[in-house]
């Protein structure tokens, strides 16, 4: 789950990291009011989950409340990378000496958290040369000891035991504590602004592990899925919309990807990725079919290799949708595995002949989608 910038900053602030003075607003009148309250120049930042707000015009500066109101008005009227803007964060404009970069994520190859730091922070961090990127894996049993943070600061070229060095050590240690305690997959500060001896998180990008949300009850919830994707998620299905015309359902992420690969191979185009794996029952399967139909595909392929998934459940779901709602497009089914015979018998009753091999079924559906 991605979090909005202002939510991340609230967390930082709670843990004692410095963030710019600021407030959220949802209209331009309030933007002017807050700008006046903050005093001096301000930054107006659209709160969207996209990573490139600045380049898309979603961040503006203003020298006084009137300018702030105008800038806010402008941002509210735009979309940032396809997202409508509902909330703005109005913040003091910082005196910036340097912009650093600091993040913690998971190094999947090492199976450990990794600290990433750079003294070349700012907008184009991905373009910074490897020489300026410091990476430090953390042994989770040892944890973030003081010496680890100190050595990162040393490698950043900042004098240890100086006020700035000490503040950076504290910032790194605190960020690691946040990373662990909120079950984050990513915490990122870019830029980490150096202003004299002060170290200020001028931005925040946080992603929480969805699997851990059950124990992160104090964190706010953010929904970034489309309505259809959310419906699928609530049904325990993994669903992504694509641009083609063949509706796809399979059971398991790997076999779903394999189905997509085969469709492409035979010259077809998939309308969606729908993984109904892990024991989705009859009702879930029926809902999955309805989801696929709602996207108006030209044809549908169902590719089931039943392990936990039972073929008769899938067949019953298909039969009931056909009877109750009707399926206006051709459906091609491949059905093998657990309770295969029962499933095929049910399908036969509604006039569907199941295939044995996925390649045959997919060849067929691609033909039908032409």
């Amino acid at each position: 789950m991605k979090m909005f910038e202002y939510m991340g900053k609230e967390i930082f602030s709670k843990y004692g990291l410095k963030v710019p003075k600021g407030r959220m607003v949802n209209n331009s009148e309030d933007a002017a009011f807050i700008a006046k309250d903050i005093g001096g120049a301000v930054v107006i930042k659209s709160q969207v989950l996209s990573g490139k707000r600045g380049k898309a015009g979603g961040i503006k500066f203003a020298d006084n409340p009137e300018q702030a109101k105008a800038a806010a008005q402008e941002i509210f009227e735009m979309t940032v990378q396809g997202h409508a803007v509902e909330i703005l964060l109005i913040e003091e404009k910082l005196k910036i000496d340097k912009e650093f970069y600091l993040a913690i994520t998971i190094d999947l190859a090492a199976k450990r958290p990794v600290i990433i730091a750079s003294i070349k922070g700012g907008m184009d961090i991905e373009e910074v040369a490897e020489d300026y990127i410091i990476k430090e894996q953390i042994d989770v049993e040892l944890g973030m000891q003081s010496f680890i943070a100190s050595d990162i600061v040393r490698r950043m070229g900042v004098t240890l035991n100086s006020p700035l060095g000490k503040e950076l050590v504290r910032t790194i240690r605190t960020l690691y504590r946040i990373f662990v305690e909120i079950d984050a997959e990513l915490v990122e500060i870019n830029p980490l602004v150096i202003s004299g001896d002060k170290v200020i998180a001028a931005d925040s990008k946080i992603t929480i592990d969805d699997a851990a949300l059950y124990r992160q009850i104090e964190l706010p919830r953010v929904e970034e899925r489309t309505v259809v994707e959310k419906t699928a998620h609530d049904l325990g299905l993994s669903f992504v919309e694509l641009n083609g015309d063949i509706g796809v359902m399979a059971n398991g992420a790997g076999i779903t990807m394999g189905t997509l690969d085969t469709i492409t191979y035979y010259g077809g185009k998939s309308a969606n990725f729908l993984d109904a794996g892990g024991g989705t029952g009859e009702e879930g399967t029926a809902k999955a079919l309805e989801l696929i139909l709602s996207r108006n595909p030209k044809a549908i392929v169902i590719n089931i290799f039943g392990g936990i998934t039972r073929c008769d459940d899938v067949a019953r779901a298909l039969a009931s949708v056909k009877k109750n709602i009707g399926i206006p497009v051709p459906v091609v089914v491949r059905l093998v595995g657990t309770n295969q015979e029962a499933g095929r018998a049910i399908l036969k009753e509604v006039g569907i002949e199941a295939y044995d091999f996925m390649q045959d079924a997919i060849k067929k559906v691609v033909e039908l989608s032409r």
């Binding site: 970069y101 993040a103 913690i104 994520t105 998971i106 999947l108 190859a109 199976k111 450990r112 958290p113 990794v114 990433i116 961090i125 991905e126 990127i133 990476k135 042994d139 989770v140 049993e141 662990v180 079950d183 997959e185 990513l186 990122e188 990008k205 992603t207 592990d209 699997a211 851990a212 059950y214 124990r215 992504v240 694509l242 398991g252 992420a253 790997g254 076999i255 779903t256 990807m257 394999g258 997509l260 690969d261 085969t262 469709i263 492409t264 191979y265 990725f273 794996g277 892990g278 290799f305 039943g306 392990g307 936990i308 998934t309 093998v336 595995g337 657990t338 091999f357 996925m358 390649q359």
Partner: protein, 290 residues
């Protein structure tokens, strides 16, 4: 022979009284696995399907030699269960449970490394040494003994490929599901090394997918292998997974794509199949050449 588990492996089921644990205990027994004990806190002293149930792993260890355990407890308690098995000295721990928080997974993997045990999963279908022992959840009928070692990241795709092999009467030495999560106990290299040393395994099938570096790492080792490796990488035309911000980009630096993986594997000498159902044909060819 086979790798990791065989006909002598004594299996403990953690969470044996739950719906999943109960169902798959029966399936594993049917397959012939030596499931000899289960745990379920508060149910110690009872039996399930004739299997004695204990309150804790240690209580089971006091009465039985346990070589492997399989974790069927809910995600909220899975870390505790896995650590319990590892702390009790069990050398192979199969974590079937899905949706375990990734921080918990890192903790499990770190501790397993420290105590020098193997963790299969989390979010795995398990491991099958065909005809000898199945630990996990795959359907019994598709696994028959033979010369093919299979290692995979995802489940149903493995059944698809193994099922096709079995349909053509090509059996498997051991089929290992490393687990579908981003952080899991084994790497492809860990498993490939074991296949390389296993006399029963003549050829290896690697079933990978886009994202991560597991296949690129595997390529480094495949170069040194004497046994042929056939690889299928799923996701050539699948949507990109979500990326971990700039930090992810910095770490990945362009790795993890279909093209990158295929290039690395090809250069290492692996045979790439473009579609999953092409595996049996190539394997047959390779076996005829041996």
């Amino acid at each position: 022979m086979a790798i990791i588990i065989d006909e002598t492996t004594n299996v403990l089921v953690q969470g044996i009284s739950g719906k999943q644990g109960f169902f798959h205990t029966k399936q594993m027994l049917t397959y012939g696995s030596k499931v000899i004990a289960g745990t379920s806190p508060g149910k110690g002293g009872t039996t399930i399907e004739g299997i004695p149930v204990y309150d804790s792993v240690r209580a089971a260890i006091e009465k039985h030699r346990i070589d492997a355990s399989v974790v069927f407890v809910p995600a909220t308690m899975a870390k505790d269960a896995a650590l319990e098995a590892l702390a009790a000295g069990i050398k192979v721990v199969v974590v079937v449970t899905e949706h375990i928080p990734v921080h918990d997974e890192m903790a499990i993997v770190a501790y397993a490394k420290r105590v020098n045990s193997i963790v299969i999963g989390p979010n795995t279908f398990g491991i099958v040494s065909s005809g000898k022992c199945k630990i996990g959840i795959p359907p019994n009928q598709f696994f028959i003994p033979g010369p093919v070692g299979v290692v995979a990241r995802s489940g149903t795709l493995t059944y698809e490929i193994v099922g096709n092999l079995t349909a053509q009467n090509i059996g498997q030495s051991t089929v290992v599901g490393m687990g579908g999560d981003r952080v899991v106990g084994l790497t492809f290299v860990d498993v490939l090394k074991k296949f390389e040393q296993d006399p029963e395994t003549k050829v290896v099938v690697l079933i990978g997918e886009i994202g991560g570096f597991a296949e690129e790492e595997a390529s480094q080792y495949i170069k040194e292998m004497t046994k042929p490796v056939v690889a299928y990488i799923a996701g050539k035309s699948a949507p990109q997974g979500k990326q971990m911000g700039h930090a992810g980009a910095i770490i990945e630096r362009g790795k993890g794509t279909y093209e990158g993986k295929v290039k690395a594997l090809t250069e290492a000498g692996a045979k790439i199949v473009e579609l999953p159902f092409e595996v049996p044909g190539i394997i047959k060819e390779l076996l005829l050449k041996l």
